[in-house]
Amino acid sequence: MNGSIIIFYLLAAFTLAFGIYSVLCRQIFRSAIYLLFTLVGIAGIYFWLDYEFIAAVQIVVYVGGIVVLIIFSVFLTHQAGEKLPKQLLSRKLFGALAAFCGFALVLLQVFQHEFAVVNKDVPSPTVRDIGSKMLGTDHGGYALPFEVISILLLAAMVGCIVIAMRSRKEVN
Protein backbone atom coordinates (compact mmCIF):
# COMPACT_ATOMS: atom_id res chain seq x y z
CA MET A 1 0.00 0.00 0.00
CA ASN A 2 1.63 3.23 -1.06
CA GLY A 3 0.93 6.83 -0.14
CA SER A 4 -1.32 7.47 -3.10
CA ILE A 5 -3.68 4.63 -2.11
CA ILE A 6 -3.76 5.85 1.48
CA ILE A 7 -4.70 9.31 0.32
CA PHE A 8 -7.45 7.84 -1.87
CA TYR A 9 -8.93 5.91 1.06
CA LEU A 10 -8.74 8.98 3.29
CA LEU A 11 -10.58 11.06 0.69
CA ALA A 12 -13.16 8.34 0.13
CA ALA A 13 -13.76 7.93 3.85
CA PHE A 14 -14.09 11.73 4.22
CA THR A 15 -16.61 11.90 1.38
CA LEU A 16 -18.68 8.93 2.55
CA ALA A 17 -18.67 9.95 6.21
CA PHE A 18 -19.92 13.43 5.47
CA GLY A 19 -22.45 12.06 2.97
CA ILE A 20 -23.93 9.84 5.67
CA TYR A 21 -23.84 12.71 8.17
CA SER A 22 -25.66 15.00 5.78
CA VAL A 23 -28.46 12.46 5.36
CA LEU A 24 -28.79 11.61 9.04
CA CYS A 25 -28.39 15.08 10.55
CA ARG A 26 -31.62 16.63 11.76
CA GLN A 27 -30.42 20.21 11.69
CA ILE A 28 -30.87 21.35 8.13
CA PHE A 29 -28.04 23.88 8.11
CA ARG A 30 -25.59 21.28 9.33
CA SER A 31 -26.70 18.86 6.63
CA ALA A 32 -26.11 21.55 4.03
CA ILE A 33 -22.59 22.09 5.36
CA TYR A 34 -21.93 18.33 5.45
CA LEU A 35 -23.16 18.08 1.86
CA LEU A 36 -20.64 20.78 1.04
CA PHE A 37 -17.85 18.76 2.65
CA THR A 38 -18.94 15.73 0.62
CA LEU A 39 -18.70 17.73 -2.59
CA VAL A 40 -15.30 19.07 -1.57
CA GLY A 41 -14.21 15.48 -0.95
CA ILE A 42 -15.28 14.53 -4.47
CA ALA A 43 -13.31 17.48 -5.79
CA GLY A 44 -10.37 16.15 -3.77
CA ILE A 45 -10.70 12.79 -5.52
CA TYR A 46 -10.61 14.59 -8.87
CA PHE A 47 -7.46 16.39 -7.76
CA TRP A 48 -6.03 13.01 -6.73
CA LEU A 49 -6.78 11.74 -10.24
CA ASP A 50 -4.95 14.79 -11.70
CA TYR A 51 -8.22 16.03 -13.24
CA GLU A 52 -7.56 19.56 -12.03
CA PHE A 53 -9.96 21.22 -14.42
CA ILE A 54 -12.89 18.99 -13.46
CA ALA A 55 -12.03 19.44 -9.78
CA ALA A 56 -12.02 23.21 -10.12
CA VAL A 57 -15.32 23.14 -12.00
CA GLN A 58 -16.78 20.86 -9.32
CA ILE A 59 -15.85 23.38 -6.64
CA VAL A 60 -17.03 26.42 -8.60
CA VAL A 61 -20.37 24.93 -9.62
CA TYR A 62 -21.37 22.80 -6.67
CA VAL A 63 -19.66 24.37 -3.69
CA GLY A 64 -19.53 28.01 -4.77
CA GLY A 65 -22.90 27.97 -6.50
CA ILE A 66 -25.38 25.32 -5.55
CA VAL A 67 -24.56 24.81 -1.88
CA VAL A 68 -24.45 28.57 -1.33
CA LEU A 69 -27.93 28.77 -2.87
CA ILE A 70 -29.13 25.96 -0.58
CA ILE A 71 -27.66 27.73 2.43
CA PHE A 72 -29.38 30.95 1.40
CA SER A 73 -32.75 29.23 1.21
CA VAL A 74 -32.10 27.70 4.63
CA PHE A 75 -31.29 31.17 5.97
CA LEU A 76 -34.57 32.52 4.69
CA THR A 77 -36.80 29.70 5.92
CA HIS A 78 -35.36 28.29 9.15
CA GLN A 79 -34.44 29.44 12.63
CA ALA A 80 -30.95 28.66 13.94
CA GLY A 81 -30.84 25.67 16.27
CA GLU A 82 -34.19 24.35 15.11
CA LYS A 83 -34.39 20.57 14.62
CA LEU A 84 -36.44 18.91 11.93
CA PRO A 85 -39.21 16.57 13.15
CA LYS A 86 -38.47 12.86 13.27
CA GLN A 87 -39.40 11.01 10.12
CA LEU A 88 -41.99 8.24 9.96
CA LEU A 89 -40.63 4.69 9.96
CA SER A 90 -42.21 3.91 6.58
CA ARG A 91 -40.49 6.92 5.00
CA LYS A 92 -37.18 5.88 6.48
CA LEU A 93 -37.62 2.37 5.10
CA PHE A 94 -38.53 3.55 1.61
CA GLY A 95 -35.67 6.03 1.65
CA ALA A 96 -33.21 3.32 2.60
CA LEU A 97 -34.67 1.04 -0.06
CA ALA A 98 -34.32 3.72 -2.76
CA ALA A 99 -30.73 4.43 -1.69
CA PHE A 100 -29.92 0.72 -1.73
CA CYS A 101 -31.41 0.27 -5.23
CA GLY A 102 -29.38 3.18 -6.55
CA PHE A 103 -26.25 1.83 -4.91
CA ALA A 104 -26.87 -1.64 -6.32
CA LEU A 105 -27.37 -0.21 -9.80
CA VAL A 106 -24.08 1.69 -9.63
CA LEU A 107 -22.21 -1.36 -8.29
CA LEU A 108 -23.68 -3.51 -11.06
CA GLN A 109 -22.42 -1.04 -13.65
CA VAL A 110 -18.99 -0.89 -12.04
CA PHE A 111 -18.59 -4.66 -11.92
CA GLN A 112 -19.92 -5.22 -15.43
CA HIS A 113 -17.72 -2.57 -17.01
CA GLU A 114 -14.33 -3.68 -18.21
CA PHE A 115 -11.82 -0.98 -17.36
CA ALA A 116 -9.25 -0.64 -20.10
CA VAL A 117 -5.82 0.21 -18.76
CA VAL A 118 -4.09 2.99 -20.65
CA ASN A 119 -0.35 2.47 -20.72
CA LYS A 120 0.83 5.43 -22.74
CA ASP A 121 1.48 8.74 -21.03
CA VAL A 122 -1.50 11.06 -21.21
CA PRO A 123 -0.39 14.68 -21.65
CA SER A 124 -2.00 16.97 -19.11
CA PRO A 125 -4.55 19.03 -21.01
CA THR A 126 -3.95 22.74 -21.35
CA VAL A 127 -6.71 25.32 -21.42
CA ARG A 128 -6.26 25.64 -25.17
CA ASP A 129 -7.03 21.90 -25.58
CA ILE A 130 -10.04 22.07 -23.31
CA GLY A 131 -11.35 25.14 -25.11
CA SER A 132 -10.95 23.71 -28.61
CA LYS A 133 -12.54 20.42 -27.50
CA MET A 134 -15.41 22.22 -25.87
CA LEU A 135 -16.31 24.08 -29.06
CA GLY A 136 -15.09 21.45 -31.53
CA THR A 137 -17.47 20.16 -34.17
CA ASP A 138 -15.37 17.14 -35.16
CA HIS A 139 -15.45 13.71 -33.51
CA GLY A 140 -15.42 14.05 -29.72
CA GLY A 141 -16.21 17.79 -29.82
CA TYR A 142 -18.78 19.22 -27.45
CA ALA A 143 -20.13 22.08 -29.57
CA LEU A 144 -23.73 20.84 -29.67
CA PRO A 145 -24.16 20.07 -25.93
CA PHE A 146 -22.38 23.33 -25.16
CA GLU A 147 -24.80 25.35 -27.26
CA VAL A 148 -27.84 23.45 -25.98
CA ILE A 149 -26.82 24.15 -22.40
CA SER A 150 -26.19 27.80 -23.28
CA ILE A 151 -29.74 28.09 -24.61
CA LEU A 152 -31.11 26.36 -21.50
CA LEU A 153 -29.23 28.78 -19.23
CA LEU A 154 -30.34 31.74 -21.30
CA ALA A 155 -33.96 30.60 -21.01
CA ALA A 156 -33.53 30.20 -17.25
CA MET A 157 -32.06 33.69 -17.01
CA VAL A 158 -34.89 35.23 -19.02
CA GLY A 159 -37.37 33.35 -16.82
CA CYS A 160 -35.71 34.73 -13.66
CA ILE A 161 -35.85 38.26 -15.01
CA VAL A 162 -39.52 37.89 -15.95
CA ILE A 163 -40.37 36.60 -12.47
CA ALA A 164 -38.34 39.24 -10.68
CA MET A 165 -39.49 42.16 -12.82
CA ARG A 166 -42.33 44.26 -11.45
CA SER A 167 -44.86 45.38 -14.00
CA ARG A 168 -45.28 49.14 -14.14
CA LYS A 169 -48.98 49.03 -13.31
CA GLU A 170 -48.42 47.58 -9.84
CA VAL A 171 -45.95 50.34 -9.00
CA ASN A 172 -48.54 53.00 -9.82
Binding site: N2, L36, I59, G65, I71, F75, A80, G81, V127
Partner: protein, 358 residues
Protein backbone atom coordinates in the same frame (compact mmCIF):
# COMPACT_ATOMS: atom_id res chain seq x y z
CA UNK B 1 23.05 33.41 -5.28
CA UNK B 2 20.93 33.35 -2.13
CA UNK B 3 17.64 33.32 -3.98
CA UNK B 4 14.61 31.47 -2.66
CA UNK B 5 14.81 28.84 -5.37
CA UNK B 6 18.50 28.20 -4.54
CA UNK B 7 17.71 27.60 -0.86
CA UNK B 8 14.75 25.38 -1.76
CA UNK B 9 16.89 23.30 -4.13
CA UNK B 10 19.67 22.93 -1.55
CA UNK B 11 17.17 21.68 1.04
CA UNK B 12 15.62 19.32 -1.48
CA UNK B 13 19.01 17.85 -2.47
CA UNK B 14 20.11 17.41 1.12
CA UNK B 15 16.83 15.71 2.03
CA UNK B 16 16.87 13.36 -0.95
CA UNK B 17 20.45 12.35 -0.12
CA UNK B 18 19.58 11.60 3.50
CA UNK B 19 16.10 10.04 3.30
CA UNK B 20 14.15 7.84 0.89
CA UNK B 21 11.72 9.58 -1.53
CA UNK B 22 8.55 9.10 0.57
CA UNK B 23 10.10 10.61 3.68
CA UNK B 24 11.60 13.40 1.61
CA UNK B 25 8.14 14.23 0.29
CA UNK B 26 6.57 14.12 3.74
CA UNK B 27 9.30 16.29 5.28
CA UNK B 28 9.03 18.75 2.43
CA UNK B 29 5.28 18.95 2.90
CA UNK B 30 5.73 19.62 6.61
CA UNK B 31 8.37 22.26 5.85
CA UNK B 32 6.05 23.92 3.35
CA UNK B 33 3.24 23.88 5.91
CA UNK B 34 5.47 25.45 8.56
CA UNK B 35 6.65 28.05 6.05
CA UNK B 36 3.05 28.90 5.12
CA UNK B 37 2.00 29.26 8.77
CA UNK B 38 5.07 31.37 9.43
CA UNK B 39 4.28 33.55 6.45
CA UNK B 40 0.72 33.96 7.76
CA UNK B 41 1.93 35.07 11.16
CA UNK B 42 4.41 37.54 9.70
CA UNK B 43 1.84 38.83 7.19
CA UNK B 44 -0.71 39.32 9.94
CA UNK B 45 1.75 41.34 12.02
CA UNK B 46 2.98 43.44 9.10
CA UNK B 47 -0.38 44.11 7.45
CA UNK B 48 -2.12 45.11 10.68
CA UNK B 49 0.53 47.66 11.60
CA UNK B 50 0.67 48.81 7.96
CA UNK B 51 -3.09 49.32 7.86
CA UNK B 52 -3.06 51.29 11.08
CA UNK B 53 -0.16 53.47 10.00
CA UNK B 54 -1.57 54.08 6.50
CA UNK B 55 -4.98 54.96 7.93
CA UNK B 56 -3.37 57.31 10.42
CA UNK B 57 -1.26 59.09 7.81
CA UNK B 58 -4.21 59.46 5.46
CA UNK B 59 -6.29 60.96 8.27
CA UNK B 60 -3.45 63.31 9.40
CA UNK B 61 -2.98 61.34 12.60
CA UNK B 62 0.07 59.66 14.13
CA UNK B 63 -1.33 56.17 14.56
CA UNK B 64 -0.03 53.71 17.16
CA UNK B 65 3.13 55.19 18.68
CA UNK B 66 3.53 53.74 22.16
CA UNK B 67 4.62 50.10 21.82
CA UNK B 68 8.15 49.80 20.51
CA UNK B 69 9.96 52.25 18.24
CA UNK B 70 7.34 54.44 16.49
CA UNK B 71 4.68 51.97 17.63
CA UNK B 72 5.91 49.23 15.33
CA UNK B 73 5.42 46.51 17.95
CA UNK B 74 1.73 47.36 18.38
CA UNK B 75 0.51 44.34 16.42
CA UNK B 76 2.69 42.06 18.58
CA UNK B 77 0.92 43.41 21.65
CA UNK B 78 -2.44 42.89 19.95
CA UNK B 79 -1.54 39.30 19.12
CA UNK B 80 -0.59 38.53 22.69
CA UNK B 81 -3.84 40.10 23.87
CA UNK B 82 -5.91 38.04 21.46
CA UNK B 83 -4.12 34.83 22.37
CA UNK B 84 -4.67 35.11 26.10
CA UNK B 85 -8.29 36.17 25.75
CA UNK B 86 -11.05 33.69 26.44
CA UNK B 87 -12.75 32.31 23.34
CA UNK B 88 -16.41 32.32 24.27
CA UNK B 89 -19.07 30.18 22.63
CA UNK B 90 -22.58 31.54 23.16
CA UNK B 91 -25.11 29.12 24.69
CA UNK B 92 -27.62 29.43 21.86
CA UNK B 93 -24.98 28.82 19.20
CA UNK B 94 -24.56 25.74 17.06
CA UNK B 95 -21.34 24.70 18.78
CA UNK B 96 -19.67 22.59 16.11
CA UNK B 97 -20.33 25.02 13.27
CA UNK B 98 -19.39 27.99 15.44
CA UNK B 99 -15.99 26.55 16.22
CA UNK B 100 -15.29 25.14 12.77
CA UNK B 101 -16.06 28.36 10.85
CA UNK B 102 -12.84 30.28 11.68
CA UNK B 103 -10.75 27.21 10.94
CA UNK B 104 -12.34 26.92 7.50
CA UNK B 105 -11.59 30.58 6.84
CA UNK B 106 -7.94 29.86 7.62
CA UNK B 107 -7.79 26.64 5.56
CA UNK B 108 -9.21 28.40 2.51
CA UNK B 109 -6.62 31.15 2.86
CA UNK B 110 -3.88 28.49 3.08
CA UNK B 111 -5.14 26.65 0.01
CA UNK B 112 -5.14 29.91 -1.93
CA UNK B 113 -1.45 30.38 -1.23
CA UNK B 114 -0.48 27.24 -3.17
CA UNK B 115 -0.21 28.49 -6.77
CA UNK B 116 1.37 31.88 -6.02
CA UNK B 117 4.89 32.35 -7.36
CA UNK B 118 6.82 34.22 -4.69
CA UNK B 119 10.06 34.45 -6.61
CA UNK B 120 11.74 33.08 -9.69
CA UNK B 121 11.24 29.28 -9.71
CA UNK B 122 9.79 29.41 -6.21
CA UNK B 123 6.23 28.17 -6.04
CA UNK B 124 4.43 25.59 -3.91
CA UNK B 125 2.30 24.03 -6.64
CA UNK B 126 2.51 25.11 -10.27
CA UNK B 127 -0.69 23.39 -11.39
CA UNK B 128 -1.89 23.80 -14.93
CA UNK B 129 -5.15 25.55 -14.00
CA UNK B 130 -3.50 28.02 -11.58
CA UNK B 131 -5.83 30.99 -12.00
CA UNK B 132 -8.99 28.89 -12.20
CA UNK B 133 -7.89 27.13 -9.02
CA UNK B 134 -7.58 30.49 -7.28
CA UNK B 135 -10.99 31.69 -8.36
CA UNK B 136 -12.65 28.38 -7.46
CA UNK B 137 -11.08 28.08 -4.02
CA UNK B 138 -11.76 31.73 -3.24
CA UNK B 139 -15.46 30.95 -3.75
CA UNK B 140 -15.15 28.81 -0.60
CA UNK B 141 -14.40 31.96 1.41
CA UNK B 142 -18.09 32.74 1.59
CA UNK B 143 -18.83 29.40 3.29
CA UNK B 144 -16.95 30.23 6.48
CA UNK B 145 -18.72 33.58 6.70
CA UNK B 146 -22.13 31.97 6.17
CA UNK B 147 -21.33 29.32 8.78
CA UNK B 148 -20.19 31.87 11.30
CA UNK B 149 -23.20 34.08 10.71
CA UNK B 150 -25.73 31.28 10.97
CA UNK B 151 -24.30 29.40 13.91
CA UNK B 152 -23.89 32.48 16.12
CA UNK B 153 -27.69 32.56 16.48
CA UNK B 154 -27.64 36.33 16.45
CA UNK B 155 -29.58 38.58 14.13
CA UNK B 156 -26.66 40.87 13.40
CA UNK B 157 -24.46 37.94 12.48
CA UNK B 158 -27.13 36.48 10.23
CA UNK B 159 -27.71 39.79 8.45
CA UNK B 160 -23.99 40.27 7.99
CA UNK B 161 -23.59 36.78 6.62
CA UNK B 162 -26.45 37.19 4.15
CA UNK B 163 -25.10 40.50 2.95
CA UNK B 164 -21.63 39.13 2.49
CA UNK B 165 -23.01 36.07 0.69
CA UNK B 166 -24.87 38.23 -1.81
CA UNK B 167 -21.84 40.44 -2.16
CA UNK B 168 -19.23 37.75 -2.71
CA UNK B 169 -21.38 35.72 -5.09
CA UNK B 170 -22.04 38.75 -7.27
CA UNK B 171 -18.57 40.28 -7.23
CA UNK B 172 -16.98 36.96 -8.11
CA UNK B 173 -18.42 37.43 -11.59
CA UNK B 174 -16.63 40.63 -12.45
CA UNK B 175 -13.44 39.46 -10.74
CA UNK B 176 -13.57 36.35 -12.89
CA UNK B 177 -14.27 38.30 -16.06
CA UNK B 178 -11.39 40.69 -15.45
CA UNK B 179 -9.07 37.72 -14.83
CA UNK B 180 -10.36 36.18 -18.08
CA UNK B 181 -9.23 39.27 -19.98
CA UNK B 182 -5.63 38.43 -19.12
CA UNK B 183 -6.22 34.70 -19.77
CA UNK B 184 -7.41 35.64 -23.26
CA UNK B 185 -4.15 37.50 -23.87
CA UNK B 186 -1.89 34.76 -22.51
CA UNK B 187 -3.93 31.73 -23.59
CA UNK B 188 -2.89 29.84 -20.48
CA UNK B 189 -4.03 29.42 -16.90
CA UNK B 190 -0.70 28.26 -15.46
CA UNK B 191 0.87 30.89 -13.21
CA UNK B 192 4.43 30.30 -14.40
CA UNK B 193 3.41 30.64 -18.06
CA UNK B 194 1.42 33.80 -17.35
CA UNK B 195 4.49 35.29 -15.71
CA UNK B 196 6.75 34.10 -18.53
CA UNK B 197 4.47 35.78 -21.08
CA UNK B 198 5.24 39.14 -19.40
CA UNK B 199 8.96 39.01 -20.01
CA UNK B 200 8.83 41.79 -22.59
CA UNK B 201 6.40 43.94 -20.64
CA UNK B 202 3.65 43.70 -18.07
CA UNK B 203 0.13 43.06 -19.32
CA UNK B 204 -1.13 46.33 -17.92
CA UNK B 205 1.17 48.07 -20.46
CA UNK B 206 1.02 45.47 -23.23
CA UNK B 207 -2.76 45.09 -23.15
CA UNK B 208 -3.59 48.75 -23.86
CA UNK B 209 -6.90 50.08 -22.53
CA UNK B 210 -8.74 46.73 -22.03
CA UNK B 211 -6.04 45.55 -19.62
CA UNK B 212 -6.26 48.84 -17.73
CA UNK B 213 -10.05 48.60 -17.44
CA UNK B 214 -9.73 44.96 -16.39
CA UNK B 215 -7.18 45.99 -13.75
CA UNK B 216 -9.52 48.61 -12.29
CA UNK B 217 -12.52 46.24 -12.27
CA UNK B 218 -10.31 43.57 -10.71
CA UNK B 219 -9.25 45.92 -7.92
CA UNK B 220 -12.83 46.96 -7.19
CA UNK B 221 -14.15 43.39 -7.30
CA UNK B 222 -11.47 41.93 -5.04
CA UNK B 223 -11.94 44.75 -2.55
CA UNK B 224 -15.57 43.68 -2.41
CA UNK B 225 -14.72 39.99 -2.28
CA UNK B 226 -12.44 40.42 0.72
CA UNK B 227 -15.19 42.38 2.51
CA UNK B 228 -13.16 45.50 2.98
CA UNK B 229 -14.39 49.07 3.09
CA UNK B 230 -16.03 50.64 1.09
CA UNK B 231 -17.71 47.26 0.67
CA UNK B 232 -17.56 46.09 4.29
CA UNK B 233 -21.32 45.70 4.64
CA UNK B 234 -20.81 42.25 6.09
CA UNK B 235 -19.38 43.78 9.25
CA UNK B 236 -20.66 47.35 9.03
CA UNK B 237 -19.81 48.46 12.57
CA UNK B 238 -22.37 51.22 12.69
CA UNK B 239 -25.28 48.98 11.71
CA UNK B 240 -24.42 45.40 12.66
CA UNK B 241 -21.92 45.84 15.54
CA UNK B 242 -19.45 43.54 13.79
CA UNK B 243 -21.54 41.49 11.37
CA UNK B 244 -20.69 37.85 11.08
CA UNK B 245 -18.02 37.86 13.78
CA UNK B 246 -20.06 39.69 16.42
CA UNK B 247 -20.03 36.70 18.80
CA UNK B 248 -16.42 35.72 18.27
CA UNK B 249 -13.65 36.56 20.70
CA UNK B 250 -10.09 35.61 21.46
CA UNK B 251 -8.26 33.30 19.11
CA UNK B 252 -11.32 32.47 17.00
CA UNK B 253 -11.79 36.15 16.25
CA UNK B 254 -8.07 36.40 15.57
CA UNK B 255 -8.35 33.67 12.94
CA UNK B 256 -11.08 35.60 11.10
CA UNK B 257 -9.07 38.77 11.39
CA UNK B 258 -5.94 37.06 10.11
CA UNK B 259 -7.86 35.38 7.27
CA UNK B 260 -9.10 38.78 6.13
CA UNK B 261 -5.59 40.17 5.89
CA UNK B 262 -4.16 37.03 4.31
CA UNK B 263 -6.95 37.13 1.73
CA UNK B 264 -6.05 40.72 0.97
CA UNK B 265 -2.45 39.66 0.48
CA UNK B 266 -3.47 36.76 -1.77
CA UNK B 267 -5.78 38.73 -4.05
CA UNK B 268 -3.12 41.42 -4.34
CA UNK B 269 -0.53 38.76 -5.18
CA UNK B 270 -2.84 37.39 -7.89
CA UNK B 271 -3.38 40.91 -9.22
CA UNK B 272 0.36 41.52 -9.22
CA UNK B 273 0.94 38.22 -11.03
CA UNK B 274 -1.68 38.79 -13.69
CA UNK B 275 -1.34 42.47 -14.40
CA UNK B 276 2.04 43.56 -13.07
CA UNK B 277 4.17 40.58 -14.08
CA UNK B 278 4.64 38.74 -10.77
CA UNK B 279 8.36 38.47 -10.06
CA UNK B 280 9.25 39.69 -13.57
CA UNK B 281 11.42 42.82 -13.43
CA UNK B 282 10.37 46.00 -15.18
CA UNK B 283 11.66 45.87 -18.73
CA UNK B 284 11.50 48.37 -21.55
CA UNK B 285 11.93 46.50 -24.81
CA UNK B 286 14.94 48.20 -26.41
CA UNK B 287 16.84 49.69 -23.45
CA UNK B 288 19.19 46.77 -22.75
CA UNK B 289 21.29 48.66 -20.22
CA UNK B 290 18.23 49.64 -18.19
CA UNK B 291 16.90 46.08 -18.39
CA UNK B 292 20.20 44.72 -17.03
CA UNK B 293 20.05 47.09 -14.07
CA UNK B 294 16.48 45.97 -13.37
CA UNK B 295 17.54 42.30 -13.54
CA UNK B 296 19.94 42.85 -10.65
CA UNK B 297 17.04 43.48 -8.25
CA UNK B 298 16.03 40.08 -6.80
CA UNK B 299 12.80 38.61 -8.10
CA UNK B 300 11.29 38.22 -4.62
CA UNK B 301 11.68 41.96 -4.03
CA UNK B 302 9.85 42.67 -7.29
CA UNK B 303 7.02 40.34 -6.29
CA UNK B 304 6.60 41.63 -2.76
CA UNK B 305 7.03 45.22 -3.89
CA UNK B 306 4.21 44.93 -6.42
CA UNK B 307 1.99 43.04 -3.99
CA UNK B 308 2.47 45.56 -1.23
CA UNK B 309 1.83 48.40 -3.67
CA UNK B 310 -1.54 46.83 -4.49
CA UNK B 311 -2.24 46.29 -0.79
CA UNK B 312 -1.51 49.96 -0.25
CA UNK B 313 -3.96 50.86 -3.01
CA UNK B 314 -6.67 48.76 -1.38
CA UNK B 315 -5.96 50.38 1.98
CA UNK B 316 -6.06 53.75 0.27
CA UNK B 317 -9.57 52.86 -1.01
CA UNK B 318 -10.63 51.86 2.47
CA UNK B 319 -9.63 55.10 4.14
CA UNK B 320 -10.90 57.37 1.38
CA UNK B 321 -14.39 56.21 0.48
CA UNK B 322 -17.50 55.98 2.62
CA UNK B 323 -19.36 52.67 2.88
CA UNK B 324 -21.92 51.82 0.20
CA UNK B 325 -25.51 50.92 0.90
CA UNK B 326 -26.54 47.36 -0.04
CA UNK B 327 -28.64 48.45 -3.05
CA UNK B 328 -25.85 50.73 -4.27
CA UNK B 329 -23.45 47.83 -3.89
CA UNK B 330 -25.54 45.49 -6.02
CA UNK B 331 -26.26 48.25 -8.55
CA UNK B 332 -22.55 48.90 -8.92
CA UNK B 333 -21.92 45.25 -9.68
CA UNK B 334 -24.87 44.34 -11.89
CA UNK B 335 -25.43 47.63 -13.70
CA UNK B 336 -21.88 48.92 -14.06
CA UNK B 337 -19.01 46.51 -13.41
CA UNK B 338 -20.52 43.42 -15.04
CA UNK B 339 -21.59 45.01 -18.38
CA UNK B 340 -18.36 46.99 -18.59
CA UNK B 341 -16.17 43.98 -17.96
CA UNK B 342 -18.16 41.85 -20.43
CA UNK B 343 -17.72 44.41 -23.21
CA UNK B 344 -14.11 44.77 -22.13
CA UNK B 345 -13.62 41.01 -22.45
CA UNK B 346 -15.07 41.10 -25.99
CA UNK B 347 -12.71 43.91 -26.98
CA UNK B 348 -9.78 42.05 -25.44
CA UNK B 349 -10.70 38.88 -27.35
CA UNK B 350 -10.81 40.85 -30.58
CA UNK B 351 -7.40 42.33 -29.80
CA UNK B 352 -5.94 38.93 -28.96
CA UNK B 353 -7.31 37.44 -32.20
CA UNK B 354 -5.93 40.27 -34.30
CA UNK B 355 -2.66 40.30 -32.36
CA UNK B 356 -2.98 44.01 -31.58
CA UNK B 357 -1.21 43.76 -28.25
CA UNK B 358 2.55 44.06 -28.15
Amino acid sequence: MWSFSYIANEIHEWLSKTFNPTWTLIIEMVLAGVAVIGLFAVLGLILVIMERKVSAWIQIRLGPNRVGPKGMMQSMADTVKLMVKEGLTPTGADKIMFNVAPVIAMIVAMLLLAPIAFAKNFQLWDLNIGVLYVSCVSSLMVISILMAGWSSNNKYSLLGAMRSGAQIVSYELSAGLSILTIIVFTGDLQMSKIIASQKTGWWIFKGHIPALIAFITFLIAVTAETNRAPFDLAEAESELTAGFHTEYSGMKFALFFLAEYVNVFIVCAIGATLFLGGWMPFHISTWTGFNHVMDYIPSSIWFFGKTFFLIFVIMWFRWTFPRLRIDQLLNLEWKYLLPISMINLLVATLMAMMGWHF
